[in-house]
Every structure is written in C-alpha cells, then in structure tokens.
C-alpha cells in the first residue's frame, strides 16, 4: 500500500550516507533513497538484493542448450548432409553456441531489467522529487501509523541535524519493489 512519505532532501551523497545511518540507528525505517547515480553503500544499508545474476545464468545456459539442440537436430537428425568431410555433429558448433549464448543472455537480461523495474516505452511516472535526477538526494521514510506527533517531531529534527536542506511530504505513488 502506498502511504504518504516523508522526504529528506540532501545535497551530497556522503552527507546522505551519514544521515541514513543515523536515521536507521534511531529506529526509523528508511523506505527508499533517490539519487542521480548509483550509490553502492545505500544498497548495503537498505539490505537490497537482486536475483538478476541468477536469471542471467539461466538464460545463458538455456541459450547454449537450445542452440546445440537446434544445430544437432537440423544437421544430424533432420537433414544429414556432409560438408567438407567433417562429422555431422562437429566441434565447430561451439562457435555458434558461444555467440548465441551471449545473444540470448543479453536480450533476456535487458528484458528482465525492464520487467522487474516495470520500465517500458512511454511509461508515465511522477517522481516524489524531480530534482533527484539532477543533483539532489532524497531519503524516503514512510509515514506509518505508529509515527505519532512526537515521533514526527523527532524525525524532523533528526533530518535537519543530519544536513537535510529540505523536508517535505509527498503523496506521489511509484512502483516501489
């Protein structure tokens, strides 16, 4: 469910990382971070993982297998025809298998990225804070029910103390997973 979110806007990624630490250590759950470029430490701190590498391995392996199956079937089973005195099932199949492994792996990895991230041509999105594509970094904290006024006060001071240049609330909905 999408709730109202509290955004702490920062101007530097190192300041943001320190703030992230402090906010987390005070028991607030940081939902997300928006940044103009990938920050590896954020992934560790938010405990984010992706299974794309496993998927890629499976794509590649099945690409190899399918290519070999097709080459074997077409050259040995379906229409056996000798070329240049070479055996029907030859070692040189390796070359096409190698190349097609990469082709299948690349295309499928690309599509997986689009699918997992719900990206497609023409998708309309609204960003919680559009400045994060350029030079701002946003710390996103979900406004859950247990955030009473006292806790909100504490969070606001905390964000300010850690160097947020702006604190705002946003109702923008976006795909979070």
């Amino acid at each position: 469910m999408n709730r109202t979110k509290i955004l702490g806007i920062y101007e530097d990624h190192e300041v943001l990382l320190e703030a992230l630490d402090k906010v987390q250590s005070k028991g607030f759950k940081v939902k997300d971070v928006f940044s103009p470029f990938p920050i590896h430490e954020v992934w560790e701190k938010l405990d984010l993982h992706t299974r794309i590498p496993y998927a890629t391995f499976i794509y590649g392996a099945s690409g190899t297998a399918m290519t070999f199956a097709f080459l074997y079937w077409s050259s040995v089973v379906n229409y056996p025809l000798k070329f240049g005195g070479k055996p029907l099932n030859t070692l040189s199949f390796v070359i096409i298998m190698f190349v097609l492994t990469i082709l299948v792996g690349t295309i499928m990895t690309f599509l997986t990225l689009l699918w997992r991230q719900r990206l497609y041509p023409g998708r309309k999105v609204e960003m919680p804070d559009p400045r994060t594509v350029d030079d701002k970094f946003a710390l996103v904290i979900e406004k859950t029910d247990d955030l009473d006024d006292k806790k909100m006060e504490e969070l606001n001071t905390l964000l300010k103390e850690t160097g947020a240049i702006e604190i705002k609330e946003s109702n923008v909905q976006y795909y979070e997973k």
């Binding site: 470029f37 984010l48 229409y79 990225l113 497609y120 594509v133």
Partner: protein, 463 residues
C-alpha cells in the same frame, strides 16, 4: 585496493552535480544546431545519397559494376566491411575492458565510443549484404523452415558464423548503449523546457525513477550485459578473421589471424575514438570532461597496441619464411614487401607500427593537433592493412596464369563514401539528440576524482 589514483583529476573545474548536467545537456537544449553541424550534416547526406545511388546500380545491374574479377573476388566491399567492424570494436572495448580493469577515466568517453560502434557496425553490415549480389535472396542466410528439404545452412561455414556474430554484436552493443542512456533521458524528461522534448525523452526514458532498488537492478544488469559483451569483442573479429584463415589462400591460411585481427580491430577502434573525441571536445568545449589526461591515456594504449601490431607484422614475415612454403614466401616477399602492392604494404606498416610510436614522447601526447593527425594516420593504416590482406593474397595465388590486378570502380568507391556519410550522419545525430557523455557515470566518479583538494594538489602532476 582498486582506488588507483595515477590518472590525476578526471573532471576538471570543481563542477557541482547540476553543473555537470547543465554542461553536457547544453548542446541538446540549444534551439538551433550550430552552422558547422548543418554543413557537415548536408555533406554527409550528399555522401549517403551517392552511396545509395551506387548501391542501387549494384543491385539493379549486378556485381559486375565493381572491379572484381575471377581472382580478386573480394575487393573494397570486404576491405571496408572489415575496416568498419574494426572501428566498431572501440565502443565495447572502451566500456567493457576499461570497466573490468576499473579505469574510471572511461566514463567521459564511453557513450561516444558506443555510439560510434553502433553506426560503424551498421555501415559494416551493409557490405556483405550487397556483396551477395542477389540481395533479395538475403534471407537464405537464416536457418528457416524451407521447402528445399528443409535444407539448413552450413553451420560449419565461417560466413555463417560471421552473420551470427555481427548481428549479435550489433544487438548486444545497442542494448548496452540504450540501458546506459535510460537514466540520462530521465533527466531531460524532468528538466527540459520544451513540452515536446519532455514527451519524447519521457517515452525514451521508460519511466525511470532512480530509486535505490532501480539503481541496483540497473547496475547489475548493465554489468552483466557488459560482461557478456566482453568476450564478444574477442569473438567477433576472431570470426571475421576465420573468413580468411579457414581458406587455403597463401597469406590468409595462418593461425595468427584471430588475435591479429582482434588487436587490429581494437587499434583502429581506439584510433577512431581518438579522432572523434578530439573533434567532439573541440566543437562542444568539453575540455573539462575529456581532459588532456583522457587523450593521453588513449594515446598510451595506442602506443602499446601499435607495438603488438608491429610484432604481428614481423611474425607474419618470419612465419612466411620459416614455414618453408614457397607460396607464402612469395605472397609476403614478392607481392607485399616488394612488388605491385608495395605502396599499400609500406603505408600499412608505417601508419600502424611506426608513426604511433611517436606517442612515446610526452610532448607529442600533449599536443592535441599531433595526436589528432596520428589518429587519422592510424585510421588510414588500418584501412590499408585490410587492403593488403584482401587484395594481395587473391591477386596472385598458386597459378601465375590466373594472376590479375584489382582496381576499384567508381561504384565501389561511392559505396564506401556512402558508408562514411552514414557514419558521420549517425554521429552528428548522436551529437545533437543524445547526451554525449554518460551523465550519471560522470557524477558517480565526480566527487572522488575531482573535488578532493588534497588529492588534486598532490597527484595532478605526478604521472
């Protein structure tokens, strides 16, 4: 452990993040293209039209309009094909190899190098297609369910491998290039002043947000796609070399060909990157992003590759003698080093193995005009290398009664000019409509490599 800080400042001028965005997107936001852009685009279009006309003549009349004969059945078309494919190796070589060896200076150049790859491979792919003669039967190359058996392709033929390798290379490079551009398109979507631009780049940005999980998936996928494309750089040109080395023609039938072709491809690719980035830097004043240090780094790599090229040329000569094959020895000594094609051979040797050695001198590496001229020499030298390989071996093979000389016709030259037009026009469109430098990648390396004052003072002059 990986923080090698030998390169000095990567991005000059103590830029802020928003300044980086502004600088790189400025040419894209400009309401009108500069005059030089319009003139070049016009010239490139004329060249492209000339090429299109020549292709029309080739297809409507036949391959007979070319200067090919029974002996020299492969001429300019194959030379240009291999030349363009070689140039097309730079993008991936830049992005991937330098990513693997953690060379952060790649970030300013890789987008342009990848764009160059796409257009060069497109130009290259054109040649085998029209060389088939009956282009309308071109689909025969694909293994489709046909009514002749079904009779499948010969999967042991290097020519089939070639088709597979090059179409894979084009697809993989394009996808890799596009993935890298998605976050940059999102910047234009959010910031552009014109509504139309917001809309178009909004469509292209695929709804990119830039949240933590998105970046994690983005970087993982980009790394994986890059990692898979890396062996492709090696395999594509190895496979192209097998078009030659699997045959029994003297001068082609050698085991040195795959590594020799791969190195040659990376050499010509880096040469073209140098040519292009110097032009780009000059015209768009990207001196803070593509610094002298960047060009210096490329020049150093070229020096090293040039040495390998020289070694390969000498190895070929040595093997021609050591193999004891009189045909090999004839091809190399009587038809390349001396003989009818002396000019091509020595141009190749001078441009590829000797002139780039000038990069040993720091003064020359620092002189951008000199670097630019040498990069042009490399492009020319690599073209002549393919000329030497393709033409000399074919023109005089085993039977002296069958010897023939080869001269290209106007049609062949026009097709080549046409592909040059295609390439230049593609690059110009890239200059105008795409962020020329990977903005998010530059921002990623910005802080640690340019605004740290202690580092900048201590290391900028120590190379």
């Amino acid at each position: 452990m990986y923080n090698t800080r030998v390169r000095g400042v990567l991005i000059k001028g103590n830029k802020s993040y928003s300044q980086v965005t502004k600088d790189i997107l400025e040419p894209l936001y400009a309401p009108k293209a500069p005059t030089w852009w319009k003139i070049s685009a016009f010239v490139a279009t004329v060249a492209l039209l000339l090429g299109a006309w020549a292709i029309y003549v080739t297809i409507s009349t036949g391959i007979g309009t070319w200067g090919l004969n029974n002996n020299v059945a492969w001429g300019w078309a194959i030379i240009n094909f291999v030349w363009w494919i070689g140039i097309g190796h730079a993008g991936t070589a830049f992005s991937i190899f330098l990513l693997i060896v953690r060379q952060k200076w790649r970030t300013s150049i890789n987008r342009a190098a990848e764009a160059m790859t796409i257009f060069a491979v497109m130009a290259a792919g054109l040649f085998p297609l029209i060389h088939m003669g009956r282009i309308w039967d071109g689909f025969f190359i694909f293994p489709y369910w046909n009514t002749r058996g079904p009779l499948w392709d010969n999967f042991n033929s290097p020519l089939f491998w070639d088709v597979t390798a090059i179409s894979t290379y084009l697809t993989a490079s394009f996808l890799f290039w596009y993935v890298g551009m998605i976050p940059d398109f999102a910047i234009i979507r959010e910031q552009a002043a014109s509504k139309l631009r917001r809309k178009i780049y909004g469509i292209l940005s695929f709804g990119w947000l830039g949240n933590a999980k998105g970046w994690l998936r983005f970087e993982t996928a980009a790394l994986l796609m890059g990692g898979m494309a890396a062996p492709l750089v090696v395999s594509v040109h190895s496979i192209v070399s097998m078009d030659f080395s699997v045959s029994v023609i003297p001068g082609w039938h050698t085991t040195i060909f795959p590594p020799y072709f791969v190195i040659g491809a990376i050499f010509s690719g880096f040469g073209m990157v140098l040519t292009l980035t110097i032009i780009m830097r000059k015209l768009y004043k990207f001196n803070d992003y593509i610094t002298d240090g960047h060009l210096d780094a490329v020049a150093r790599i070229l020096t090293f590759i040039s040495l390998i090229m020289g070694t390969a040329y000498l190895t070929e000569l040595f093997m021609a003698w050591y193999s004891g094959s009189e045909y090999e020895l004839f091809t190399f000594m009587k038809n390349r080093v001396t003989g009818d094609y002396t000019f091509a051979y020595w141009t190749m040797l001078t441009c590829n193995a000797i002139i780039p050695q000038l990069f040993w001198f720091k003064k020359i590496r620092k002189n951008i005009t000199a670097v630019f001229i040498i990069s042009i020499f490399i492009n020319i030298g690599m073209w002549f290398e393919r000329y030497v390989i393709v033409v000399t071996s074919l023109s005089k093979d085993f039977l002296p009664s069958g010897w023939a000389m080869y001269k290209p016709t106007f049609i062949e030259i026009s097709i080549y000019i046409g592909t040059l037009g295609l390439f230049v026009l593609g690059v110009l469109l890239f200059f105008r409509y795409v962020p020329m430098i990977a903005i998010h990648e530059v921002k990623h390396v910005l802080k640690e490599t340019s605004t740290d004052p202690s580092f900048a003072e201590n290391n900028s002059e120590k190379h």
